[in-house]
């Protein structure tokens, strides 16, 4: 066998002064980067296996461990940097597509960080959320045309998703993530009065009690979907694309299709679950309309039907088409959106920032006079409450978080989800690893995260003199851009700081 040119990515630094040989690290590393050596009677490291997930670092009771980048210089070359060279080695050895997990990690500009929020000073009072109610409740769903149907409010409205905080947990399928991850998300969403999205993998029967707060996904593989599931769910989302891999389907390897996954997805045990790149019954906008109305028919028009698309270059026109095709919610997934597995080149090079997609779509729908009729949700790269506030000011009704939720559950962003050996028990089906997410703790952590954001959002809103989130929606005057060029400001529809 020819020698591998792969170099370790990380160095396990073990402080011998502190190591007590308790082997907790050995017990926790599913990658076997820590090994108990019987003869030496000590723990030794296998650096090549380390993925820098920090499980051992966090668990080490004496803080004896630290993971460093494996520093191996190549001759300086601005063009062929170390990463490019190492990826080339990898592909020369494997002959395969480079796979990666989680969202785009390239240093593209993060527009959220170029937006600044306004606050009240003197001319109007800021509102103190500790003294005055500040409302974050949001309704997602189709709204009738106000001019054509002025008495709509006297009737039953079309179905709406009521969110106590304009945050939802993004689609992450059972299969790509563990059942305990689903349990945590479902329980937290129910406690928070929001929705979570079960992704394209159906809903495990243990979670049926949470189904009123569950959005189920109809994606190109149609996994886990049937009429009773649609009726049971709180909402339905047709997934056309995903920000991390626009234009690409999904592939859940057979090894992850264990008994529960197989039963929930309604596919044979151990078989690969392949979601085609397109829906093979949607080759045009009119086909999408048929699917939307098929789903509405199937649920007696009692369920919200959303459509999720990846943010791509002509997203404004696409979104307009989706709105007119009858979608109740349009989800725009920006190119920083996470994934369990994506081809690296796709993830890093395809799509649009969610900020631009949102600004363009919101503006376009307003120009067409239909913005009020459809809800706009964005996903892909929301990291904190300020990002949410900015997204809503740009025009979103609500946002999805995926990666942030997983980080709350313990994800350390090692980006190795596709290996199925998630040391934090999230992106895995291995029973001993799945146990690492205790849904009770998971729920608490997710609830804490959203509640802390809720409070921060209320503070930011109050600072702007606003006591209901709908008064921020599309309120772009509350934003100013810093470090943006004129074209970027124009697309975002905001003024420059100081204007």
């Amino acid at each position: 066998m020819a020698i591998s040119l792969k170099l370790p990515e990380f160095l396990v630094v073990r402080d011998k002064e502190r190591c007590i040989e308790c082997q907790v690290c050995v017990n926790q590393c599913a990658n076997e980067a820590h090994i108990w050596d019987q003869d030496l009677e000590q723990v030794v490291s296998n650096d090549v296996a380390c993925v820098n997930c920090h499980r051992c670092v966090v668990y080490c009771p004496t803080r004896a461990l630290r993971i460093e980048e494996w520093k191996q210089d190549f001759k300086k070359n601005a063009n062929w940097d170390g990463i490019s060279i190492k990826q080339t080695y990898l592909q020369a050895e494997s002959g395969g597509t480079l796979l990666i997990g989680m969202g785009n990690d390239k240093a593209y500009p993060i527009y959220w960080d170029h937006l600044l929020l306004n606050a009240s000073q003197v001319t109007n009072p800021s509102i103190d959320p500790l003294r005055e109610p500040i409302e974050l409740r949001t309704y997602l769903g189709r709204k009738p045309d106000l001019l054509k149907n002025p008495s709509a409010f006297r009737e039953e409205l079309p179905p709406q998703l009521q969110l106590e905080v304009p945050v939802m947990f993004s689609a992450m399928s059972f299969g790509s993530v563990s059942l305990n991850t689903h349990r945590s998300l479902a329980a937290a969403a129910s406690e928070l009065g929001i929705y979570w999205n079960a992704g394209e993998g159906g809903l495990h029967e243990d979670l049926f009690s949470y189904s009123p707060k569950t959005i189920v996904q109809v994606a190109s593989g149609r996994f886990g979907i049937n009429a009773s599931m649609l009726k049971r769910a709180g909402g339905i989302e047709i997934k056309i694309g995903q920000g991390a891999k626009p234009g690409i389907g999904g592939h859940l390897p057979g090894e992850k299709v264990e008994e529960d996954v197989s039963r929930t997805r309604r596919i044979p045990y151990g078989s690969d679950a392949i979601s085609p790149a397109p829906h093979h019954d949607i080759y045009s906008i009119e086909d999408l309309r048929q699917l939307i109305y098929s789903l509405k028919e199937a649920t007696a028009y009692e369920r919200v039907v959303g459509v999720k698309v990846a943010a791509v270059h002509n997203i404004a026109a696409i979104a307009s088409g989706i709105a007119r095709a009858g979608a109740d919610i349009i989800v725009l997934d920006g190119f920083r959106g996470g994934t369990g597995a994506a081809p690296l080149r796709i993830r890093d090079n395809v799509g649009l920032p969610a900020e631009f997609a949102l600004a363009a779509v919101d503006q376009r729908l307003r120009e067409e006079g239909i913005r009020n009729e459809v809800s706009l949700v964005i996903a892909g790269g929301i990291r904190n409450s300020a990002d949410i506030i900015k997204a809503i000011a740009l025009g979103a009704d609500a946002i999805y978080i995926g990666t942030a939720a997983l980080i709350a559950l313990g994800c350390h962003m090692c980006q190795k989800c596709y290996t199925g050996k998630c040391n934090w028990g999230i992106a895995t089906q291995q029973p001993d690893l799945v146990r690492r997410v205790n849904p009770k703790i998971g729920r608490e952590r997710l609830v804490n995260l959203v509640r802390s954001w809720e409070h921060e959002m209320k503070e930011m809103l109050g600072g702007m003199g606003i006591n209901a989130i709908e008064s921020l929606r599309g309120n772009r005057l509350m934003l100013r851009g810093v470090g943006l060029n004129a074209k970027e400001l124009e697309i975002l529809g905001i003024k420059a700081a100081g204007e």
Partner: protein, 381 residues
């Protein structure tokens, strides 16, 4: 410095309004005295009045008050007016020389009857025709600004303290059954006459104290329904919102109030299932029409007035009654200055509208500006 329309300017203010609900007219002296009593609330950079019932002889004509920066603007505007209207009277508004009032524009008024064919060209909705015409002039013609355009009413406004503006416009010589007034405290303005309150559209006028934090949400909402927010002022967007809700969509005044000053979600449940469902639905459908942030406004039409605070009452508003007269003002002192023995004085709660309608009217939306009808000839001389 940029003026309204180029930049958004926050301002503080005083408002006052008086209506005789029997429709008996009275001179502008009371309203001037009332607003003058709140001089501290303005800074001399804007004052104005709206008066209803002042042009009985031209009651069926559109009374258009226009500010012109120069004669070129007037000529351009006249060209459009003549293409679309029969002009019953065109004259300079009579003013008095007041020492502190300066830089006044050319202030003109017209009494107009639209040419029916022009209305039919735009779909036959006369109100919509008028509204679009006014917004066109404001948006398109540099140096022209329509201060008011309703029937039997007019807006009198300018840069200065309101009592000086009243003196300037000789309001003591007008008689109206409904007066509103405004004293302005802009924090940053070159003092542009068009930027003063009231702001009007059709018969509507609004005087407003406050700052609408939801401004851009509201603006972008009304702009979906063919309004052009050329001034970038809260007052402008407020009047467009009410026009949209009351005239275009046809909500009742009560419904419109529960849209712009929506009840809190948690308070909805106490209202009984039907009521709470309708209010919830209204709030869901008209989320972008919620006026958020501190305000007290007086919305007036030929039918009467409505005074309203934001839903958590961040600005002052007091109401009082004496016989058939209803008074609303930022401060009780402003009412007491003109009416000594009041039957009742109260401070309306946040989001609670004070409505004063002419006898026999059930809504603010005036007959002249409701329905799609073609105007007849003006009956005035």
């Amino acid at each position: 410095m940029l003026r309204e329309g180029k930049i958004r300017i926050p301002s503080g203010c005083a408002v006052s309004g008086i209506i005789n609900r029997k429709g008996q007219v009275f001179s502008g002296i009371d309203i001037v005295d009332s607003i003058a009593n709140m001089r501290e609330r303005s800074n001399g950079l804007g004052g104005g009045f709206a008066a209803y019932g002042i042009y009985p002889e031209y009651r069926d004509c559109y009374a258009m008050h226009i500010f012109y920066d120069d004669i070129k603007a007037k000529e351009d505007t006249d060209y459009y007016i003549n293409r679309n209207f029969e002009v019953n009277l065109s004259e300079r508004i009579p003013v008095r020389k007041v020492k502190v009032i300066e830089n006044q524009p050319i202030i003109w008024r017209y009494f107009l009857s639209p040419i029916p064919r022009r209305i039919e060209d735009v779909g036959g909705d006369e109100d919509e025709f008028m509204a679009q015409f006014v917004m066109q002039i404001n948006a398109m013609i540099e140096g022209a600004f329509v201060a008011s355009s309703g029937k039997n009413m007019g807006a009198f406004k300018g840069v200065g303290y309101p009592e000086d503006i009243g003196e300037f416009y000789r309001l003591d010589e007008y008689k109206a059954y409904l007066w509103t007034a405004h004293g302005r405290f802009p924090t940053n303005t070159p003092g542009w006459w068009g930027g003063a309150h009231p702001f009007t559209l059709l018969d509507w006028s609004v005087v407003h104290n406050g700052e609408i934090s939801s401004y851009d949400t509201n603006r972008r909402f009304v702009e979906m329904y063919d309004y052009k927010c050329t001034l970038q002022t809260d007052t402008e967007v407020i009047i467009y919102l009410f026009d949209l809700l009351l005239r275009k969509i046809g909500l009742s005044l009560e419904e419109a109030v529960s849209v712009v000053a929506a009840p809190f979600w948690e308070d909805l449940d106490d209202l009984g299932p039907l009521k709470s469902r309708q209010l919830r639905n209204l709030r869901i459908l008209y989320a972008s029409a919620l006026l958020n942030g501190p305000f007290s406004i007086i919305l007036a039409s030929g039918n009467g007035l409505m005074a309203l605070n934001d839903r958590i009452k961040l600005r002052p508003l007091v109401a009082a009654e004496k016989d058939e007269c209803l008074y609303v003002a930022s401060e009780e002192a402003a009412i007491r200055a003109v009416a000594k023995d009041l039957d009742r004085v109260w401070a309306p709660r946040g989001g609670e509208a004070v409505v004063g309608l002419l006898e026999g009217k059930s809504d603010l939306l005036s007959a002249s500006s409701s329905g799609r009808k073609i105007a007849g000839k003006c009956s005035g001389s």
